[in-house]
Amino acid sequence: MKIVGLSGSKVGSKTRTAMDYTVKALKEKYPDIEVTLIDLAEYDVQFSDGRNFREYEGDTKYVAETLMDADAIIIGTPVFQASIPATLKNVFDLLPVNAFRDKVVSMLVTAGSPKHYLMVEQQLKPVLAYMKAQMVQTFVFIEEEDFYRKQIVNDDVIFRIERLAEDTVVLTDTFTKIREAKEAEYDF
């Protein structure tokens, strides 16, 4: 199983901090799983111009192909202007319409205010559904006060991150098994 963590913003450190916790939780619990973290702050990704994802070059090609090659993706995102950052939306725009078919996608959100809680339901989930993702419905919502100097100081958040990692793996396993059984039935 290949899981990619995608930290979706170039701004700030909270989302990356939370993603580091998530990757750590995954690696501790599932040492056999291949986990890759892509922090968009570290890559120079161009804007989508409509070409097939494999025809991009450099960082853009790397980011698109790594995501397409994953069995599961954990997206970490802050809230910008009541939505996801443009950097993250651009990654979606680089990929084909059915990019997340047969993939599990789970979500972790950092926000400055609890008022942004519904952003995921209203902005992020519809995009993922359109791209055919199997979603882990429960996402982890983390507020400013849960962080202190690049540490998560709220145990509840840490427990929820652990559950997110576990749910992502369990759901990916489950869907893979269901799909394999179904495909075997076709007998071709």
């Binding site: 111009d49 409509g50 070409r51 097939n52 994802f53 494999r54 025809e55 192909e65 397409m68 084909p96 059915n98 990019a99 078919r101 047969d102 179904k182 495909e183 076709y186 007998d187 071709f188």
Partner: protein, 352 residues
């Protein structure tokens, strides 16, 4: 239909097309040389000709895993190797070519083949060739519309006066040689959405409609939209042929056909497009109402007749060779088309 060399009294035409892909056989992992692939395509056309198939076409894709970038050259070898079959491009990416040179090639092809050449112009579904040939992808639509328009003017007038954005103007230009009967059938290649079909309709040009999978009724919408658009500009749709083109595989049973074809489609698409073909969608390809013609000879006959009733199209074009399909399987398909499918299709679609 005469202008497009189609005689409906003989029934719907049956054709074969290849994208000219050059992919490893997924069952063995081996890939034949480009030399062998090109020769097999020529041989494939020859077999189709001998089986009484009406039409054979070759596409151009300028990227890894393809071998017929110079499709006009391949077609010219096919012209020499065959007797009766119509030959065409599927498609010629006119956007990134000079219409004058393209016309010279295809008019010559028409002379070599003694009046059997046709041209299908398309916009490219993959865009790597824009970089390779020095064009800007942002001009994708305009490049096609302008150059397609010029191509048609060259076809219709011996002396052309033309000016546009992407090519030097033509002043009293004579584009030679002329095809055998003075002009060529020129088609517009159309992908999935009705929007593109409507553009073909507005121009009053024949439509070549490519399809992957899905219910045939979805593609009926594009055909209806095409004919409505043509009528709205005063064209007589009874004079405008429609061709559909997509996956085809015949075997003893539909289950055997699915089993034989699936790995080639799935692995081939992974290599050329980056995503495979979902098994669930492919399984639905065997349904009588699905546009993919996969099944036993009798099932395929019934599907094609159902599609003909729905679409009222003049030509169906089968894609069998995608994904490194071995040549003996192509031979077997052609044999079954020639002996079982073609006679039935002709019999039931011939118009008095």
């Amino acid at each position: 239909m005469e202008k497009y060399r189609i005689d409906q009294s003989k029934g719907m035409e049956f054709g074969i097309y290849t994208l000219g892909d050059h992919l490893p056989n997924p069952l063995t992992g081996e890939r034949i040389s480009a030399e062998q692939r090109v020769h097999e395509i020529i041989e494939y056309a020859k077999l189709a000709d001998q089986a009484g198939i009406d039409f054979f076409s070759v596409g151009e894709s300028h990227q890894e895993y393809f071998a017929t970038q110079a499709h006009a050259v391949v077609l010219s070898a096919i012209a020499q190797a065959t007797e009766k079959i119509k030959i065409a491009s599927s498609s010629t990416i006119i956007s990134t070519s000079d219409p004058v040179r393209v016309y010279e090639n295809f008019a010559t092809l028409d002379l070599i083949s003694k009046g059997r050449a046709e041209l299908i112009a398309g916009r490219a579904s993959r865009v790597g060739l824009f970089d390779l040939l020095g064009y800007n992808i942002r001009d994708y639509e305009e490049l096609f519309e302008e150059k397609f328009d010029l191509l048609r003017q060259i076809n219709e007038q011996e002396i052309v006066n033309w000016s546009g954005e992407f090519r030097a103007p033509l002043k009293d230009a004579q584009v030679l040689p002329r095809p055998q009967s003075g002009s060529l059938p020129i088609w517009r290649a159309v992908g999935g959405s009705p929007a593109s079909a409507i553009k073909a309709g507005y121009a009053g040009v024949p439509m070549f409609l490519a399809h992957l999978g899905g219910p045939a009724t979805v593609f009926k919408r594009s055909i209806d939209a095409y004919r409505d658009a043509a009528r709205s500009r005063g064209f007589d749709t009874a004079e405008l042929p429609v061709a559909t083109a997509g996956f085809f595989y015949v075997a003893d049973s539909s289950q055997q056909a699915l089993r034989d074809m699936y790995p080639f489609i799935n692995e081939g698409m992974k290599k050329t497009n980056g995503q495979g073909f979902p098994k669930q969608h492919f399984a639905q390809g065997a349904d009588p109402h699905n546009i993919m013609n996969i099944g036993s000879p009798q099932e395929i006959i019934e599907k094609i007749l159902y599609q003909h009733e729905l679409f009222g199209h003049q030509r169906y074009i089968a894609q069998i060779d995608f994904g490194g399909m071995p040549f003996d399987k192509l031979q077997k398909n052609i044999e079954l088309i020639g002996t079982e499918i073609l006679p039935a299709i002709k019999k039931y679609t011939a118009k008095d």
